[in-house]
């Protein structure tokens, strides 16, 4: 915005309108206005950034407060003294260590399933010409618009009839049968790989499986990483699935554990622990995010509306 007006300002002094002569040169060139708008924009970004970041600050500092300071009025903005006690208490008051392990037991196989099934399907849609492909892909995209809650009742009935209620199977097995969203994402990516690569390999006598495994998959590693990260983070925070299918406390995931913990009258007001547990739940996600920030943003671009 700023830079584009500059060249024009250079060219205009000869304009000769009387109003412009009275004003000093720097004003006419809009330097002040430019500087003012810059300051205003930065101030705006700072203010909004603080507003958006405030809940995080409040969460983490609350986890470091004593219980008196947590409920202090007026609120204490900086914990004094800083107490770390809430964090070990997370693991001694409720089995959050076990819950974390349970969550991993669901999230990892689920992620493997999604990556496996969606890569296959996306390859079939993007790299092979076959009759019926377009219709099936159209159906796939249409299913993106089916609200998940609509499937809740019938899926529950299916999995209960299979005797899977109260196990992790309903949370893992469906992943091996694909997800329209990730199929769409990966197909977009596969289409960007030049078809000549596959053609050349075909001429050299490579089988379709060989092309898939030795040529396309290695090239698609970044895209697979995006899908894996999104799925992992989604599973880490999934609430509805465990809420519906897990009925035993020793099977709780971290999210369900936290929810039940909070609903338990005995701990209702133990906000120190709840905030510490929430912080711990957040940490791996934020760590992954900073570690793979690029991948994330590119992943969202990949869902590309420009496909």
């Amino acid at each position: 915005m700023v830079s584009s007006t500059e060249p024009r300002a250079e060219g205009t002094p000869g304009g000769g309108a009387p109003r412009q002569v009275i004003r000093p040169q720097w004003w006419k060139r809009g330097v002040v206005r430019m500087a003012a708008s810059r300051v205003a924009l930065n101030a705006l970004a700072l203010t909004l950034g603080v507003v958006f970041g405030m809940p995080f600050y409040w969460l983490v500092t609350s986890a470091l407060k004593t219980s008196q300071q947590i409920f202090a009025m007026p609120p204490v903005w900086w914990p004094n003294p800083i107490v770390w006690d809430n964090f070990p208490r997370v693991f001694t008051t409720a089995p959050f260590g076990l819950y974390t392990w349970n969550t991993i037991q669901i999230a990892v196989p689920h992620t493997i399933g999604i990556v496996f099934s969606c890569t296959m399907a996306a390859y079939g849609f993007a790299r092979i010409q076959w009759p019926g492909r377009e219709i099936l892909y159209g159906i796939t995209l249409a299913t993106l618009m089916i609200p998940g809650v609509v499937l809740m009742v019938p899926m529950f009935i299916i999995f209960r009839q299979l005797g899977w209620y109260g196990t992790y199977k309903p949370l893992i097995v469906p992943a091996f049968f694909g997800s329209a969203y990730y199929i769409f994402m990966l197909r977009q990516f596969f289409r960007t790989i030049p078809p000549e690569l596959s053609e050349a390999a075909r001429i050299d006598g490579a089988s379709e499986l060989g092309i898939f495994a030795r040529i396309i998959l290695p090239l698609a590693k970044p895209a697979l990483a995006v899908v894996a990260l999104f799925t992992l983070i989604g599973q880490w925070g999934d609430f509805m699935g465990p809420l519906i299918y897990i009925n035993k406390m020793e099977q709780y995931t971290i999210v369900l554990g936290l929810f039940r913990f909070m609903g338990d009258r005995a701990h209702e007001t133990d906000w120190g622990i709840i905030m510490a547990a929430s912080t711990l739940m957040l940490l791996p996600v934020i760590a992954i995010f900073f570690f793979a920030q690029r991948t994330f943003i590119e992943g969202i671009h990949m869902t590309g509306l420009k496909g």
Binding site: S4, G49, P74, A121, I146, V150, V153, L305
Partner: protein, 297 residues
């Protein structure tokens, strides 16, 4: 199969490989999408408590829900969310994207700050906001310091939906990224030409920037609508459905009915939701030709 016979060897080979690669997904489509949706339609005409076999009751479930006061409460609460919270979320994410597209100090840092809420597990976000909104929280605490009365964020029926809207607006990072990408594609010549013609920020916004990002707006509206119609986790964990059913949302009601093992009724509600979403999506797509601008290049 008659078509299959007319295929050349190469086409047949491709068909087989195509089916091979998409096979898991085809099974998934049939087993975990098509069959559930069809069986759910059947259940919606039955009374089914999972103990005794489903009993056919015709339209009874639909009659029951359409005459149920609570059901209409859930519908109106959900519509409120679709009509108010979704546009607010989209407008805020668009404006933030526009801000983050300017040359500001520490731009990539701010982009991270605004994106971060998106990846936070919803339960952690729910706890965090529950804590921020409570009477001891930073907002009410600060108000109290200035002698102002506390805002009943979660305890007043009038405030609950706006409070939940604050939470969902906080999580607009995904939309920001989409808008940022679209804004970077707005042709610079158009913006410059407008400025030479004396357009101010508002004119530029209205006549150039917004029309250029309408495809993203369509996408976010449809996505946001589908999401808002099944708004669940925050409503269920932050407010339950209270106070006084002011945050009883459609998906929360389906879940409660489901937990009460009234499977037929829950399926009927879910099917009506499915139809509403389908109709809204269809209408949006049909009208989109009038307001969505797809660039010439």
């Amino acid at each position: 199969m008659a078509i299959g016979l007319r295929l050349s060897p190469r086409e047949r080979r491709n068909l087989l490989w195509g089916l091979f690669f998409t096979l898991p997904w085809i099974i998934g489509l049939l087993w975990l999408l098509l069959y559930p949706i069809c069986s759910s339609l059947y259940y919606s005409f039955t009374q089914y408590n999972m103990v005794r076999p489903p009993k056919w009751v015709g339209l009874h479930n639909f009659q029951y829900m359409f005459t149920d006061r609570h059901y209409w409460r859930a519908v109106s609460n959900t519509m409120w969310f679709v009509i108010v919270a979704v546009p607010i979320n989209i407008a805020v994410s668009f404006l933030l994207a526009e801000l983050l597209n300017q040359k500001i100090f520490m731009r990539s840092f701010w982009r991270t700050v605004f994106y971060l809420p998106t990846i936070v597990p919803q339960m952690a976000a729910a706890m965090l906001w529950l804590w921020v909104f409570n009477p001891f929280g930073p907002i009410n605490g600060t108000l109290a310091r200035f002698g102002l009365s506390a805002i009943p964020f979660l305890s007043s029926p009038a405030w609950v939906k706006p409070s939940l809207t604050i939470v969902t607006t906080w999580i607009c990072g995904g939309n920001i990224v989409l808008f940022l990408a679209a804004l970077q594609d707005v042709p610079m010549q158009l913006r410059e030409a407008a400025r030479i013609d004396g357009a101010n920020w508002w004119d530029e916004m209205l006549h150039i920037t917004v029309p250029c990002v309408t495809p993203v707006i369509l996408f976010t509206v449809i996505n946001g609508m589908i999401w808002a119609f099944q708004f669940f986790t925050f409503a269920y964990t932050i407010t339950g459905n209270g106070p006084g059913e002011s945050s009883l949302f459609y998906a929360v009601m389906i879940y409660d009915t489901f937990v009460g093992t009234r499977m037929g009724l829950a399926a009927a509600m879910a099917w009506v939701l499915f139809l509403i979403v389908a109709v809204c999506t269809f209408v949006l797509f049909r009208t989109s030709a009038r307001w969505v601008y797809y660039g010439g290049d």
